[in-house]
Symmetry: C2
Subunit: 310 residues, 2 copies
């Protein structure tokens, strides 16, 4: 499947003949003829009835046509996605199952005309340096030290995500409706895969200090499936997750999500962008996110102190 051959095919259909297609493609008629011939050979079907009149699509050609068009559209979008200056807005969401991805998806649903490219970088620090060198335009992340941002990078708080815990069916808390975080001190709090130095690690460090609990992030991270297996089988292990974190577990696992209360710890999401990247598309995203900001819960704990309105 040669892209140029496909382009020739679509062009012949749209222009109505080899000659005219050649003209619009800027090549000779013979070149178009060769492209179509090679395409037909590679697919092993005839695409046009060549009458001496004009070329007419065969049934195979008719079937191929829409597929060919989507192929070309995909190719064009692929090229556009990395074209400096003209590319879609690039936003880092830290992970595709996290609340940030959810927030951005909300935006996409209500603004389908804004071209987006969703990226996931390794950590918030990487996002900031990517913002600095211009390889991304914006990021949704937890900002541990707002005051330490490099010049030119701006930020706004957009969402406080309540924290929940996940326990197995035989855990003592399995049938509770909610629990207080201080009551968790006696349980084993396990959050594998926290990479030291990331904003994620900083958040859990703050949480552990604030409530005088111990969060175990040791041991190798074998992935979510393994974590769920352990939780499901254990009477003691508890893990944290954001209220809007999407996880899918196998049907056999009867896991429970529990709200935390009095206070509810929240994971604060900020929207970051570079002054230079600011423009109409970016401000539409930012406006949407700030407008969507949920009203603050009655009793919350957050690692960052925010002055003024949420």
């Amino acid at each position: 499947m040669n892209t140029e051959a496909v382009r020739a095919f679509v062009s012949v259909v749209e222009e109505g003949g080899f000659q005219d297609a050649a003209l619009t493609l800027g090549v000779s008629q013979q070149a178009v003829s060769k492209r179509i011939a090679s395409l037909e050979k590679s697919l092993d079907v005839v695409l046009f009835h060549r009458g001496p009149r004009r070329a007419e699509l065969t049934v195979d050609g008719r079937v191929l046509l829409p597929h060919a068009k989507t192929l070309l559209a995909a190719a064009d979008r692929a090229v556009q996605s990395v074209r400096p200056g003209f590319r879609p807005l690039r936003v880092d969401v830290r992970g595709r199952r996290l609340a940030a991805a959810h927030l951005l998806y909300d935006f996409h649903e209500s603004h389908p005309d804004v071209q987006l490219d969703v990226v996931t970088l390794s950590d918030g620090g990487a996002a900031v340096s990517a913002l600095e060198n211009g390889s991304i335009d914006a990021a949704l992340t937890y900002l541990h030290q707002p005051e330490a941002l490099p010049p030119g990078i701006r930020h706004v708080h957009v969402y406080d995500e309540p924290l929940e815990i996940l326990v197995g069916p035989r855990h003592p808390l399995a049938h509770a409706k909610s629990t207080r975080i201080a009551d968790l001190a006696t349980h084993r709090l396990w959050v594998p895969g926290i990479v030291p130095g990331t904003e994620w690690a900083a958040y859990y460090a703050s949480l552990a200090t604030a409530f005088d609990i111990e969060i175990d992030s040791t041991g190798p991270d074998f992935g979510v499936e393994h974590l769920l297996d352990v939780i499901a089988d254990s009477r003691t292990v508890v893990t944290f997750l954001g209220a809007r974190t999407r996880i899918v577990w196998p049907a056999r696992h009867e896991l429970r999500r529990l709200r935390l209360a009095e206070p509810t710890p929240v994971y604060p999401w900020s929207f970051l962008w570079h002054d230079k990247a600011d423009g109409p598309a970016l401000s539409r995203v930012r406006d949407h996110l700030t407008r969507m900001a949920h009203p603050p819960l009655s009793s919350v704990w957050s690692p960052v102190r925010r002055d003024g309105v949420a």
Copy 2:
């Protein structure tokens, strides 16, 4: 954008390095290196950080990756769509705004796993010969002469589509709820674009004969927009359309669709297929369509007499 270069790019990401990608692609490491280099040159971005360790995606590479994958998926689907013996089921629906397309879309909604290619051929006769030579697998059309089908082609009636009329806001019937077809004899019944010799022409000929009305199909067909313009402005002109024919008219046109009653003329849709093409996918479509068959209306007129159940 060379497809093979994109394939190499995705392969390098999935395999984790140039070397391994070369192995799975069956080419030399240097060839992969060249492909990536040419892709980077054509896009004018760097896709991989070449550390001495393993190749690592840049932000541009991360962004391109999903686009590259959809591009390859589109290419594969395009090839599959014409691959003899393995291609998706091809069904002719006569026109994408007609009831047949609607019926097939219903099927697609409830059976998204069945790969379909929807085709529109010029007329029912073309569909039959396309069925005969195997270039399509099935068709939804009005079958004027079921007894004249070539051997091997089978058919089943699936849907009676009530006929409606379309009038402008100043037409005397504009505020009627429904009308009897016999009462239309005094109006100008205009259906432009009926190609003689098609099943469409045969249907209207039957209709005209049965109710002793005159249907005007003369004059050049300037398309639906022109037809709607004429209807909207006229106090006399009336046109027919199927109850499930989708038309979109500009907001300024206050057109009215009216049901026909006592009897309601129906446009009977049949599902046609070739014995040789019968298989699990085709029978799922056929079963769905026959199951969806609507209960017969109380008083209908149809050009074909059907014995037994609907």
